[in-house]
Assembly symmetry: C3
C-alpha cells in the first residue's frame, strides 16, 4: 500500500540508537513493516569485503575518494532493497545515517546530491540533544565515542553544521527536515514523535 | 526590454505583505510593469479545483506528496505566465512565497530544486524583522497568525532555518540572497530597498 | 600520479592570501607541484578583455548576468588548465575564491552549482579569523578593504552566511568542508593545516 523512506541523522552522543530502537518497536505496534538500514553497516560491508577496512572506526580514515565510492554503493544497495520490497502493507524504511561526518579532513556530507537523490527520503530527521547531555553521554561511554569526544563549543558548531547539511540535502529532494529533541531520560517521547511523523508522512492519519 | 524575476520570502509576521504592496507601488511609479504572484494562491487554486482543500489553512495539513505536486504545478504555471508576457517594456515578476514552510511534519522547503529551477529568480529576498516585533504583530492579529504563533526561541530558530533554505536554493540557480530588515513603523524604507534591488537586477542603474 | 583540487575561501580580512602563500611554499617543500588559481583574476581577465571593467573593484558593480557569465567562464578556463596538466607527479590545484560575495544586490554565491560542478574540488576550505582581528586588519589596510569595511555584527553574519554557502556547494559535489582558523600572528600554523589537508586528500599519508 505505502512505502515511506525516512532518513534519521544525529551527531554522535545524541542518543540516536535508543530513539530508533524505541520508535521501531512503536511503529511495529502500530502495524507498520519497519526496516532499519544502518548506512555505516552498508558502507562497512562494501569496504570490508573489498579488504579496505577491518573495523568501522577505520572508515573515516580512508581516502575521501574511497569513502565516496562506498557511500554511493551503500545508497544504491539500500534503494535496491526498498524497491524489491513487496507493495503489500504499510512499509517504513528508516535509513540510520549522518547528515555530516566529522573526518580528519573536515566536515564531509553524509547525504550529498547523488546519495540523497538515490534514497529519495520524505523526511530528514535530526535527533538533537542538549550539549551538556551529549558530553555526559560521551563521558559515560568513552570507548564508543573516543573519536568524537568534544567540548561545548565544538559540539555547538557541529550541531549547526549538521542542520545546514541536512537542509542542503533536503532542498535537493523536497524532503521535510524535522528536528526532534531527545531529552535525557525521555527517549520514549522522542521515539513517539518519530513514530507520529512516520504516520503523517505515510498519509496514515 | 527586460524581465526580472525576484522571489520574496519571509516567515509569518515579518510584515511581508505590507512591504510588497509598497514596493509594487514604488516600482510602478518608477516605470516598471509589476506582476506579483502569490505562490500560495497558485497552490491553493490547484488544490481547490482538485477538491482537496477548502481554505488555504488546510494546505499545510495535506499529505506531503500532494503538497509537492501542487508546489511544482504552481511554479510551472507562474513560469508560463512569465514566459507569455510580452518582451516590450521593463517587467518585474515578484513571486511572493516562503523559503521554508513550518508544517506539522517539519520544515518543508518552499524553493526545492525543481521549483527554484523552474522560477529561475535573479534574487531571493528574505524580509526579516526583530523577533519581538514579529511576536507583537502576531499578538495583534491572532486570527491570521494562529498557526504560526511562537516564542522568541522558536522564531530565532525559524529565522536561521529560513536563511539556510534560501541559500541552499540560491546556490542551485546562482541567485543573490538579499536580507531586508523591516523595522517597525518603517515599511516604506524596506519597500524602497526592495525597489532599488529590482532596479539593480534589471540593469536599470 | 595524483591531481587534487582544493577550493580555498574566506571573507575579506581573514588573511587568506598570507595563508595561501605560506601553504604553497610548504607544499612545494613537501614535493608537490602547486598551481594557485585566483578566481577573481580569471573573471577579471574575461571581463577586462571584453572591455567591461578596468579594475577588479568594478566587477561587483556589474549587472549580475554579466558576472554570472564571467564566473562560469572562469571556472571552465581553470578546469581546462587542470585537465591539460600532465599526469606525472603529485599535483595540487588551489582555487583561491569566495564561497559568497557581498555585492550591492546581496549575498551572491561564489560556488553556485554550475561552477562547483565544473571545478569538482575534494575540499572547500574556509579560512576564518576572530572578528576583532578581521576589523583590525581592515583598519590597517583601508585602501584594500574599503568596500568590505564592516562592524562586528555584519561580520558575524557574513561568517555564518559564508559557511552556509560553502556547505550548500559541498553537498553538490561531495566535497569536505574544512574550517581553518587563522590566528593573529600564526599564519604558519594555518598554512601547515592547509598543507596537511592537501596531503590527506591526495592520499599521500
Amino acid at each position: 500500500m505505502s512505502k515511506t523512506v525516512v532518513v534519521v541523522t544525529g551527531i554522535p552522543g545524541v542518543g540516536k540508537s535508543t530513539v530508533l530502537n524505541l520508535a521501531t518497536k512503536e511503529l511495529i505496534v502500530r502495524g507498520f513493516n519497519v526496516k532499519v538500514f544502518n548506512f555505516g553497516d552498508f558502507m562497512f560491508f562494501t569496504l570490508h569485503s573489498g579488504g579496505l577496512v577491518r573495523s568501522r572506526d577505520e572508515i573515516r580514515r580512508l581516502p575521501i575518494d574511497v569513502q565516496c565510492e562506498a557511500q554511493i554503493s551503500a545508497a544504491k544497495e539500500i534503494r535496491r532493497e526498498i524497491d524489491s520490497t513487496s507493495d503489500e502493507g504499510k512499509h517504513v524504511f528508516i535509513v540510520d545515517t549522518h547528515a555530516v561526518i566529522k573526518t580528519t579532513s573536515g566536515y564531509w556530507p553524509g547525504l550529498p546530491e547523488d546519495v540523497v537523490k538515490c534514497l529519495r527520503p520524505k523526511a530528514i530527521v535530526i535527533i538533537e540533544a542538549d550539549v551538556n547531555e551529549i558530553i555526559a553521554r560521551q563521558m559515560r561511554d568513552r570507548s564508543r565515542y573516543r573519536a568524537d569526544y568534544a567540548d561545548v563549543e565544538i559540539l555547538n558548531e557541529l550541531l549547526l553544521i549538521n542542520r545546514i547539511y541536512a537542509i542542503s540535502s533536503a532542498t535537493l529532494v523536497n524532503a521535510v527536515v524535522r528536528i526532534i529533541r531527545n531529552k535525557e531520560g525521555q527517549p520514549e517521547k522522542a521515539a513517539q514523535e518519530l513514530a507520529d511523523l512516520v504516520m503523517v508522512l505515510g498519509n496514515v492519519i
